[in-house]
Amino acid sequence: MPFVKVREGEKEWILKAAAGVALSILLYAVVVQPVFQEILIARQDVMNSKKRLELYKEIQVLKKDLEEMESPLATLTERSQLLGRISDVAGKAQIRFGTLTPRTEPDGGFIKLKVEMDGRGSFFSLLKFLLEIEKTQTLIKVKDISMLWNAFSKQESKDSLQIQLVLETLLKPRVKKTQ
């Protein structure tokens, strides 16, 4: 192996250069390197703020939409009034319901109210009832309809149809805000 003679002056320069390089590495690690982390955090902060703001605005829009969409729904506390109204409409339409069974269950942030009705009436009284129910301010959906006519009875009667209805609506769990 060839022997490389390093002179005193060269040794000193090597030492100075090594000290400079060592300090540069140290300062890079202490002064510059943390900045990259800070920049990354600041960039993420900016992006995060943008996303949060967009999200917040979307939520505000969603809230308005939901308020509009929920406006035809009754609240849980209005359940009995709703049942009373259904009963009233049925009476006015000349349908005699023997049973009216309400059932509630939670459903996607709402409370589903299912009303099973069993009674007698004519086709036209059923039609009238359905028309009236659909006109009510509270959104009520006709889930199932079943009507049975006794074709073998000798006399036409007003209550010739045996009617089974399942009505369904969603109730807001909170008290409806009034202006």
Binding site: V32, V46, W149
Partner: protein
């Protein structure tokens, strides 16, 4: 306190002096003189590299010992070697541009220096005397001799800062003691233990002559020789300078200098003043021995910032020079400062504005939003995502609820309208049935069931009527919206009150 160490390596002895600068002037703090001889050996066996030193040359051992004695082993030292190894010549040459001066001086010096310039290390001091004329004093040493000395010094763990001629060291001492005026034509005579006498004559800071002669050791014979050599040197100086006479000569070195002063003053008829250095006293040192330390003392003074009146000649090539510790530390401090400034600038100039811009961007987003929606700032991303998820779920549920809605009244009307008189329905149901398991949405389906009879008295006509009615029913919009088709599921003939009727079952899905 700053300390300087000077080492003079003569032919017979090595002299080391450690000096400091005090309020009253430079002081010798310690010194050592060691003969160079084959019997010499290191005295402190615990010192590092002791085995190496024992096997080293007598010079190395002597250097090691003197440094150990002055408690400066491995110190940064200024060195002078025996003037017999060094050649000093003065000549004049035409002035050349500064950048070409070194090369021109080397070329010119090759005419005066008695060995090959390429094999030597030289330094020079130039001084413009007349218009376009340079007076140049060149001092040179053969490279192999210098290398030998450097090897010896480094083998003894000394860190050599400078190698300079003895006249520089001597003039530094006299300058430090305020004994020499710069404009005065003066000389330095240094007597050495080997009988060598170095005579240096200078004027206005220019060394015109530096030569050596040997004394025999016989006083009467030497007196005559001393006078003769000195007189010849002064005459030569007179010629070189164009008529300047030496007014003062400083004597130093080994021996009884007072005798020589008296003799020479008398011999020169008191036209030339001879002086010895008024050196500061060191402990345990007789006054006559002080003068022996003069060269080493002058070398030590160099590290304390004292300047020689005869320029700054260095016989150490640039590549072999080391900075003294203070200079080295100053360089490192400057280097560190510049690197620190660089990195701070990089941070402040490049990265800080970027960081500020990003912070401003964030503020530009957050600020107006905070004013518009005060609650926004306190809401975290997770919180918002959670709320959005819940709201989406509610919305999807509502959408599904609204989309599934069928108008029951419209359906009943569609069923009733267009029902032929021959058909009588005795059962109708519309109900939700669960979708198939494989269905992605598992959306609930509607199912329509109808049962009825048809009487026309003709089976074929009855069947045809039932089919036509179901087809017409299935074509109605409300039916097409909810059922893909309405079909006859079952059809049969039946006897009712002695009449044949057709009973059917229809289904829509």
């Amino acid at each position: 306190m700053a300390k300087g160490v000077g080492v003079y390596v003569g032919r017979n002895e090595v002299i080391a002096v450690s000096a400091t600068r005090t309020g009253t002037g430079p002081q010798i703090t310690s010194f050592a003189i060691e003969s160079i001889g084959p019997e010499a050996s290191p005295e402190s066996p615990h010192d590092r590299g002791i085995h190496r030193i024992r096997r080293a040359t007598p010079e190395v051992q002597a250097i090691f010992k003197v440094l150990a004695k002055i408690k400066a082993p491995g110190a940064f030292v200024n060195v002078a070697v025996s003037p017999l190894q060094v050649v000093t010549r003065n000549f004049i040459m035409p002035m050349v541009p500064k950048k070409d001066e070194a090369g021109a001086v080397r070329n010119e010096a090759s005419r005066y220096v008695p060995f090959k310039i390429t094999d030597s290390v030289l330094d020079y001091h130039s001084y413009p005397t007349h218009k376009n004329v340079l007076s140049v004093t060149v001092t040179a040493i053969r490279r192999e001799i210098l290398d030998e000395y450097l090897r010896s010094m480094r083998s003894a763990f000394a860190k050599v800062l400078v190698v300079e001629p003895v006249y520089n060291a001597a003039s530094r001492v006299f300058a430090a003691l305020n004994m020499v005026g710069k404009v005065q034509a003066h000389g330095f005579v240094i007597l050495q233990s080997d009988g060598n006498v170095n005579v240096t004559l200078a004027s206005k800071g220019i060394v015109y002559l530096s030569r050596d002669f040997l004394l025999s050791g016989k006083l009467e014979e030497d007196k005559t020789r001393f006078y003769g050599e000195l007189k010849a040197s002064m005459e030569y100086f007179y010629k070189l300078t164009g008529g300047e006479s030496i007014e003062q000569i400083f004597l130093s070195g080994v021996g009884d200098l007072k005798i020589w002063v008296e003799h020479l003053e008398h011999a020169f008829n008191y036209k030339v003043r001879f002086d010895v250095a008024n050196l500061p006293r060191a402990k345990n040192l007789p006054p006559e021995a002080l003068h022996e330390l003069l060269v080493a003392f002058g070398l030590a003074l160099r590290s304390l910032g004292y300047r020689s009146s005869l320029g700054n000649i260095q016989l150490l090539p640039k590549e072999e020079r080391r900075s003294d510790p203070a200079q080295f530390l100053r360089f490192l401090a400057l280097e560190f400062f510049l690197i620190l400034i660089f990195f701070v600038m990089v941070r402040v100039v490049i990265f800080q504005p970027l960081l500020m811009r990003l912070k401003d961007q964030k503020e530009a987003i957050i600020g107006p939003a905070e004013r518009e929606f005060p609650a926004f700032v306190s809401r975290s991303m997770e919180d918002l995502l959670g709320e959005k998820g819940l709201m989406n779920e509610r919305r999807e549920r509502l959408d599904a609820f609204f989309n599934e809605k069928i108008s029951g009244a419209a359906f009943m009307m569609a069923l009733g309208q267009g029902l032929p008189k021959s058909i009588s329905l005795d059962y109708v149901s519309i109900e939700d049935v669960a979708g198939s398991e494989s269905s992605q949405s598992r959306k609930r389906k509607k199912r329509l069931n109808m049962r009825g009879i048809c009487y026309l008295g003709n089976a074929e006509k009855e069947t045809e009527t039932i089919g036509a009615w179901l087809k017409a029913l299935g074509a109605k919009k409300i039916m097409t919206d909810n059922f893909t088709e309405i079909r006859v599921e079952e059809i049969k003939r039946e006897k009712f009150r002695n009449r044949e009727i057709t009973r059917f079952r229809g289904m829509g899905e």
